[in-house]
């Protein structure tokens, strides 16, 4: 009986433990600020259109903002807007230009975007020395080069020859 009473007393005498909420809040707010900043500035959030499984790599650079062209076995998108359809994994002959290598609907979109880009730099000097436009390419991993080369050629002829192939980190491969 006496023992029980002693234990009860020692529990009451324990010092109160607590977190200083003010400093805790400071830490949390700073943490959130840096998280938001790193998400918005250093990396681009890219949506992958339906039917595209990106290839995996062990290392790559962080994606930066640029024009996005995506291709699956069924469709081609430019900035996530559908521009062309494919038939049984091949381009329709009406979409291919006279040279047999250019995808005309895609070229029309890219030319329009490139003229906007050139208009920005127009007053700044000779446009011949302007570096080529950057283009993010999202292609399904199982597509043959036969299809991808049309897209690369079209982009290059429209002034976008700095290719950035969008990939995902291979978590198994380290």
């Amino acid at each position: 009986m006496g023992l029980k009473k002693k234990k009860y007393n020692s529990q009451i005498n324990m010092p109160e433990g607590g977190i200083s909420l003010t400093s805790f809040m400071d830490v949390m707010i700073v943490l959130i600020f840096f998280l938001v900043k790193s998400m918005t500035v250093s990396s681009t959030n890219l949506n992958t259109p339906k039917g595209i499984h990106l290839p995996k790599v062990k290392a790559g650079q962080e994606a930066k903002q640029a024009l996005v062209v995506s291709i699956s076995a069924a469709e081609v998108w430019a900035d996530y807007k559908p521009v062309m359809k494919l038939d049984h994994g091949d381009f329709l002959s009406k979409d291919i230009g006279e040279d047999g290598r250019t995808l005309e609907p895609l070229k029309a979109y890219l030319d329009k975007e490139n003229s906007k880009r050139l208009a920005i730099y127009k007053g700044m000097g000779n446009l011949d020395f302007l570096p080529p436009g950057k283009i993010l390419i999202q292609a399904d991993h199982h597509l043959p080069f036969k299809l991808v080369k049309y897209l690369l050629h079209t982009a290059a002829t429209s002034g976008y020859s700095d290719y950035k192939f969008v990939v995902v980190k291979d978590k198994d491969g380290g």
């Binding site: 909420l21 990396s43 991993h141 199982h142 991808v148 290719y163 192939f165 969008v166 990939v167």
Partner: protein, 206 residues
Amino acid sequence: MARGRLIKVKKNKHKLTDVEVNTTSLMDIITTLLFFLVVISSVNKALTLDATSLSQGKPSTDEKQVFTLTLNFVNAKQAEFWIGPSDKLKIANYDSYVKFMNRFFAGSLSKGYGKKLVSSSKTELMRRIEKALIRIKKSFPGETKIVLGFSDNVLYEDMISIIEGVRSLDAYFKPFVMVNQLGQKEKTRVLFPEVVISEWQEGPSS
């Protein structure tokens, strides 16, 4: 009059009610927000591999010799190596380079070297290629450009793993020692990071 006003203001201040923030619910919100931010930032991080296209134009009329390294892929298990004429270029470790090239490649320094590589798997092919690239990089430490040609039936995922492989060494290999342009020894995994993409063409090695 002014004094009386001051006194009035002071009295009003005392009447203000204390406002408190409910820290418990605030903490709940912040913790939830933090959780979602961490999840989103870890899931949606997109990576890229860089390459450029082979510029179309008139062939250079400049007679000065330039370093040319081309790899043409017939498929993921078969490739063709081509190193352009390099007899007028500065070559580090000249003797060992020439010995290596004459042993494993067909051709000469003045005409260029070529070789067909056929392997049982794409991993093995890339390892053989990277081994040769290490030797070439050691003799041309200032060169960064490689031209990759692909035939129509090379899969996009194979194209990406080839680009990755020629840019830097696979984890299978240890970093190699190279004497850089400043004459300093450095350990590196970097091979030829500037990738130029072209279509597969019947090369001089064929």
